[in-house]
Amino acid sequence: MTVKDIENKLIKGIAAITSKAESSIKADVPFHELGIDSLGFVEILVFIEKTFKLRLIETDLTKKDFETINSLASFIGKKL
């Protein structure tokens, strides 16, 4: 799976979680600017576990890994 494929899947999932149109989710915008709070963020982590079989809640995630959908897709790509 390419980073672009991962990015597209993340955008779909985040659009569903935030009730926003996929076209309004920009891959280079920080998560906190998408109006995501602790609950929304945990929902995204659960989505990632279901979709990519990766449990990220217990890993040492840094702000940089989660800075944008781009950087998260790269992080997931390395873990897969």
Binding site: K20, D37, F66
Partner: protein, 443 residues
């Protein structure tokens, strides 16, 4: 087969969580006389003309006859909010006062507590507005609401809409407010399945003994709630958010604040010498997306996480934060907040007095150790209110009793507030002071 009974403009069906808020109102009216009341307070840096506020409010609330509605139920099972015709509602409940000076912990604070503890005049009144101008040039504007009609973010949005109305940019937004909801009288298997999962969770939680403060007749005789506000300036708030990132992780402010609140409350319970295995903390979560807030302004859109923390975990802060994150993850994964919403739809058939008894069955009637919430982003987004600059916005919510005590965080313009709310008589002034100090030092 799916079918839906749509509500008319005069009939808004209540969700399960709206009905739960009705049960809390019923319980609190028997404990404090006032009911499930919530107050939103604006601290302003200048005084405001009372007559202007009154006339603007009077015109504005006439746009919302829902404010004068009441709970009703007819031939089908679902209760609804009966909305009167426009211009048939109550008159505006507004009062203004002037004080000599404005210490927030002096006369002004006592008045604000008095407003929250004052019952509405009748079954059709669900809001009251108070303006307090001080001779030192500051003022406080308080909106006191029936929690059955607004949750915290809804109340902030209502205030935002009012300010929008004053700026003349409101008509289209008033039209956005959604006042219809399905009766939700279909997909029963789904609701029963959700109910089964919620029951399992509650049974699992009730297997260990729960620490809670005893609500005695002495507390109930006091008939009211007390509040304590701990405000943090922008610099300290930045430090707190930075600590939250370092210790709990990115966007994990809520678990971090909860960990500090639990440790502070632990100190209080330890000083009382209460022995039990664990704390149970219901944490309310907003189930709206940020877009919905303009439409879903009235009624309740919250659900809950239920955290159980064993006493032996309290000495290690990092272990506590990890446990909170882990429980939060598992509850999202098992859809507990969504299941609570679905399962609560089944409760609507039961009358309030019966539900009051059912709610007290688990945990030997203790229900929870304390309540907690954190509202991250304020829905009121103007820097001023009625022409006066806003110094702060904070919340004063009554707490379901039992447990009768809660810690509530909100923020406005980069400033974090913590409000402790408790049933008068439940804890002493010294204990509240110790709790405040623990919260400050823990953050």
């Amino acid at each position: 087969m799916r079918f839906a009974i749509p509500s008319s403009s005069k009939k808004r069906y209540l969700s399960g969580f709206d009905w739960v808020m009705g049960v809390v109102d019923y319980i609190l009216k028997r404990t404090t006389c006032a009911g499930n009341i919530f107050q939103l307070v604006f601290k302003l840096d200048s005084t405001v003309d009372p007559e202007t506020v009154q006339s603007c409010l009077c015109r504005f609330i006439k746009e919302f006859p829902v404010l004068d509605g009441r709970v009703a139920r007819d031939y089908n099972l679902a209760p609804y909010w009966q909305v009167p015709k426009k211009d048939k509602g109550n008159s505006l409940n507004f009062n203004s006062r002037r004080l000599e000076n404005s210490p927030l912990h002096g006369n002004a604070w006592s008045l604000m507590e008095e407003w929250v503890n004052t019952p509405f005049k009748n079954e059709n009144e669900h809001s009251a507005f108070h303006l307090l101008n001080t001779n030192s040039g500051e003022s406080y504007f308080a909106m006191t609401f029936d929690h059955r009609l607004f949750d915290a973010r809804g109340a902030e949005s209502f205030a935002h809409l009012f300010q929008q109305y004053l700026t003349g940019d409101c008509n289209s937004h008033i039209g956005d407010v959604r006042l219809t909801a399905s009766a939700e009288l279909s997909q029963w298997a789904d609701k029963f399945y959700a109910g089964k999962n919620v029951n399992r969770k509650i049974i699992a939680l009730s297997k260990t003994s729960l620490r809670a403060l005893p609500v005695t007749q002495h507390c109930e005789a006091k008939k009211g709630f007390k509040f304590s506000l701990i405000g943090f300036d922008r610099q300290k708030t930045c430090e707190i958010y930075e600590n939250a990132y370092e210790e709990a992780g990115y966007l994990m402010v809520m678990p971090y604040l909860l960990s500090v609140a639990i440790r502070a409350m632990h100190g209080l319970f330890e000083s009382r010498g209460l022995s039990a295995d664990s704390y149970i903390i219901p944490v309310s979560v907003d189930m709206r997306s940020s877009q919905d807030i303009k439409q879903e302004l009235f009624f309740n859109y919250a659900s809950m996480f239920l955290f159980q923390i064993h006493v032996d975990m309290l000495n290690d802060k990092q272990a506590l934060i990890n446990e909170i994150k882990s429980q939060m993850y598992e509850q999202v994964q098992s859809s507990l907040p969504k299941n609570l919403l679905k399962a609560s739809l089944l409760l609507r058939i039961a009358p309030l007095f019966l539900l009051r008894k059912i709610f007290l069955l688990p945990f030997g009637g203790k229900f929870a150790s304390f309540y907690f919430s954190h509202i991250g982003k304020c829905s009121y987004q103007y820097p001023e209110f009625m022409g006066a600059k806003i110094n702060n916005i904070f919340h004063m919510p009554c707490v379901p009793t039992p447990p009768g005590i809660g810690i509530f965080f909100n923020s406005f313009n980069g400033q974090l507030n913590a409000v402790i709310s408790w049933l008068d008589g439940l804890v002493s002034d010294d204990e509240i002071l110790a709790l405040e100090n623990s919260l400050r030092s823990g953050l």
